[in-house]
């Protein structure tokens, strides 16, 4: 199958290949991360690799960049068989990598970061001058301007990524691998990145784009390869496929990419936040004068690039973090700095919280699913109320019920939480919180690291809660998720609210600009509060 599909993907048998992988195998312990993987990337094209978490994409690119060596199989770069035993080998073969988490030294300058490991001579200053001269040519040729003397940690994420690209090009990369490059970018930054990729392609650079965002695959790639559980499923020409087909290949069954938003009638306000401010002990203001309210039967989406105060907001609302000033009103209870509420009190007011980081806050990984499924609800009526004794049988039965109604697989309450996949772990947390029948639901990053099939299910559950009259606050860094679920969207930037807009009156462009802190909501939009 492989041979046929490769030639199909190549389109033309005579075009030269930048990368060709043949029957790559890699096993970690009992997990076969890559099974007989074959891949052909035509020189000067943008080639996407899609797949769910754990499909083996990362392993494959790590092999290409010399981080791991394959158990078997061959790698050829520009037709030449190569052995990649280290990153140095990969660099020598003309491969550059832009990692998902940047490999930059935060307190070094851009120039220092670029030359690191590839310096000229032993004297830093002389070498830096020389590097600067040759970098000038590269920046002009590819239109990648950046201040070489700036300290990296002061740069916005989009520019840091540009530094990573420059770093690779400076090392003479003719093949650029980008691993989930848009995860941390605003929509505008993403567009700029795609422009850069276009320029690079025009200059003959081959680009391998690893992502789980099908929209991006459709937007920039020429070819796409789909991986599922360690294997290559198929290689396709992007122009001849569509997101629906790709999603189906990734999951192995048909999936609904968009569960279908239907406007809802919002009722009375369930939670009012007025001028919420949180100042950390370090003096940093992580939340600054944020006001909003959320109503019965609506989903309020909180958009923003990760780290702009959304986490703090969730924690304040959940009673985990103390307010410095401002109020949160739930029913008759006014939570202030002077009268703080504990998480259990907030829970008693009818609020449930699905935390952003299910590993750190949602579950206790070494605990069984049955135990994880009652965390925070040990004294609930179904567990025997105030009785200090927990019955294992009751817990198991409770967990079993949750598992069957939320389709957790395997439906095995005695299994340790860390043995479930990301999506199933998330379903356990969701099941626990939703089953308390909350009036207000806080949800943080509900689909982070969750496979497409589970995303569909989780989105449906959130709509179901909303339609039952629950007030839902949804924090997500995935703008698509915000846009497909929310009735109204509040955008956060540097701890401040940039405004609240009705989903029906806005678009991704406007929200992106607000995320970047460039513009606040237009006056007409402001009324959405």
């Amino acid at each position: 199958m492989a041979d046929k599909t490769i030639s199909k993907a190549r389109g033309d048998d005579s075009s030269p290949l930048a990368i060709s992988l043949d029957n790559i195998n890699k096993t970690f312990g009992s997990v076969r991360a890559n099974k007989d993987v074959c891949l052909s990337v035509v020189q000067g094209t943008i080639h996407g690799i899609v797949g769910e978490n754990g499909a083996g994409k990362s392993t494959l690119v790590s092999i290409l960049y010399g981080f791991y060596s394959a158990d078997s199989g061959t790698v050829a770069i520009s037709g030449e068989p190569v052995r990649l035993r280290s990153a140095a080998d990969a660099i020598a073969a003309g491969i550059g990598m832009v990692h998902q988490h940047f490999m930059l030294v935060p307190n070094f300058t851009v120039l220092e970061n670029i030359i690191l490991g590839h310096e000229v001579g032993s004297d830093l200053k002389a070498g830096a001058r020389q590097a600067e001269a040759s970098l000038k040519g590269i920046t002009e040729r590819y239109g990648l301007s950046v201040d070489l003397q700036a300290v990296v940690q002061d740069l916005p994420v989009g520019l840091q990524q540009r530094v990573e690209i420059l770093k690779a090009l400076y090392r003479g990369a003719r093949i650029l691998i980008l691993d989930e490059p848009t995860g941390v970018l605003t929509p505008q930054e993403t567009e700029q990145l795609f422009d850069i990729l276009g320029t690079l392609k025009a200059q003959g650079v081959t680009i391998l784009l690893i992502t789980h965002k099908l929209k991006e695959i459709m937007a920039v790639t020429d070819f796409v390869s789909v991986m599922r559980s360690g294997e290559m499923v198929d290689h396709l020409q992007t122009a001849q496929t569509n997101p629906q087909q790709l999603a189906q290949m990734m999951v192995g069954r048909p999936v609904l990419l968009d569960v279908g938003y239907q406007a809802a009638q919002a009722g009375q306000a369930m939670l009012n936040a007025e001028h919420l401010t949180v100042t950390e002990t370090s003096g940093v203001t992580s939340l600054s004068d944020v006001s909003f309210s959320v109503h019965q039967g609506e989903i309020l989406g909180i958009a923003g690039v990760s780290g702009n105060g959304q986490s703090e907001l969730l924690e304040v609302l959940a009673g985990i973090r103390k307010i410095t000033s401002g109020t949160v009103q739930i029913g008759d209870r006014k939570i202030t700095a002077e009268q703080p509420a504990s998480p259990s009190e907030v829970k008693g007011l009818g609020l449930a919280h699905v935390p952003e980081d299910r590993h750190a806050m949602g579950l206790i990984l070494p605990f069984t699913a049955a135990e994880s499924a009652v965390l925070g609800y040990e004294y609930a009526d179904m567990m025997g109320g105030r009785s200090p004794i927990l019955s294992p049988a009751v817990m198991a039965a409770h967990c079993k019920t949750l598992m069957s109604s939320y389709d957790v697989r395997p439906a095995e309450p005695s299994l340790k939480s860390n043995l479930f996949s990301g999506g199933n772990q998330q379903k356990i947390v969701l099941a626990r919180e939703l089953s308390s029948q909350p009036d207000i639901l806080l949800v943080g990053q509900p689909t982070r690291g969750v496979d497409i099939g589970a995303i569909e299910f989780i989105h449906k559950q959130l709509f179901a809660m909303r339609d039952k009259g629950c007030a839902v606050i949804l924090v997500s860094v995935e703008l698509d998720e915000i846009m497909s679920l929310s009735d109204r969207v509040m955008v956060m930037n540097e701890g401040k609210s940039m405004g609240i807009v009705r989903k029906a009156d806005t678009d991704i462009q406007e929200i992106g600009l607000m995320m970047a802190g460039v513009t606040a909501a237009s006056p007409r939009q402001q009324k959405a509060r």
Binding site: F28, Y65, F67, S86, A87, A88, A90, I91, M97, H99, H101, M103, L104, V105, P106, N107, F108, E112, N113, I115, L116, G117, H118, E119, G121, S122, D123, L124, K125, G127, K167, R171
Partner: protein, 324 residues
């Protein structure tokens, strides 16, 4: 007045002598810690090399061979530290602690076995030690006011290793901030992944750093037993390695501020020595113990409150493990 001036100059002179091992150890620590390896074993390495240098000098009669022995032993201990912390990704504090305990016990045991003098090494004659270098015209300069005294008492009359210590600060500054090696060294202490993905060797760099630290500690130890002192005395490092580490942190992992911190600690100690038994106006006679406690007390106070926001190398103490 003239007497007070001379007292002051002599105190400064003593400061340099006392600060020399601190400076060498602080620079040693700077290399190690800038690469991401915590080095509390400065103390043990210095003690062990003090013993090795004195033994070697006593056995061969050559201070230079003593220095070579001191450096060799200290580097060997560094390699053990590197093997534990870099190769096997062990806990850096525990490894350092083990080296300190090892040095404390082994020096005495070996000392008794070799020389049977209660853990000490034999007294070293002048020819077996690094002796003071009297600079030209030092005697004549005595008669020149102010500058002459400074020249004679502070600048002249130090042994070679004092000069080596001061020179090591310049070299450290140059190597760490002006060379390619220094760039990589700092990078590996901040973000080893960056070095790894740029094709450099994290382990290689960290090993080089601990070896350099070994060499500098070896010189510091040699200074204690075969330059400043005349033979090894048990536990003669007396916490200097820890004070050097404190000076390094106080100096925020930078060579010149660390040097100044070392000089300040040295000054406190020199002052304490000089103030013993001296009648001070108003206060009167200060107890010797109290004065001796002063530098340590100051260390605690300074480290606790006045250091400001010290930002250590980001990856210090964290073994580099490639994520799966």
């Amino acid at each position: 007045m003239a007497d007070l001036w001379l007292q002051f100059v002599l105190t400064i002179d003593a400061t340099l002598r006392v600060a020399t091992p601190l400076i060498l150890c602080a620079m040693a620590g700077l290399f190690s810690e800038r690469s991401g390896i915590i080095d509390i074993s400065l103390e043990g390495k210095m003690l062990m090399s003090a013993f090795a240098a004195a033994s070697m000098a006593a056995l061969t009669g050559s201070p230079l061979l003593g220095l070579a022995g001191g450096i060799l032993v200290s580097v060997a201990l560094s390699l053990i530290h590197g093997f534990a912390c870099v190769t096997h990704k062990g806990n850096q504090v525990i490894s350092g602690l083990a080296i300190n305990i090892l040095a404390s016990g082994l020096t005495v045991t070996l000392g008794i076995a070799l020389f049977a003098q209660g853990g000490q090494t034999p007294f070293l004659n002048k020819s077996e030690r690094f002796t003071d270098i009297v600079l030209p015209f030092a005697e004549q300069a005595e008669h020149v006011p102010v500058l002459g005294t400074i020249y004679k008492e502070i600048i002249s009359g130090h042994n070679l290793l004092v000069w080596v210590a001061l020179f090591s600060v310049i070299v450290t500054g140059y190597v760490v901030f002006r060379t390619t090696f220094g760039l990589r060294l700092r990078a590996v202490g901040e973000k080893p992944e960056a070095v790894d993905s740029a094709g450099g060797s994290v382990s290689g760099l960290r090993f080089q750093a601990v070896i350099i630290a070994g060499v500098l500690c070896g010189i510091a130890g040699t200074y204690l037993s075969t330059a400043h002192g005349a033979g090894f005395i048990r536990e003669m490092a007396a916490g200097k390695g820890y004070i050097a580490l404190a000076a390094l942190i106080f100096g925020k992992w930078r060579p010149v501020p660390a040097l100044l911190a070392c000089l300040m600690f040295g000054f406190m100690e020199a002052l304490a020595a000089r103030l013993q038994g001296v009648e001070i106006p108003v206060i009167g006679n200060i107890s010797t113990d109290l004065i001796l406690v002063l530098p340590y007390f100051l260390t605690v106070i300074l480290l606790a409150g006045f250091i400001g926001k010290a930002s250590p190398p980001r990856s210090i103490g964290v073994p580099y493990i490639k994520e799966r």
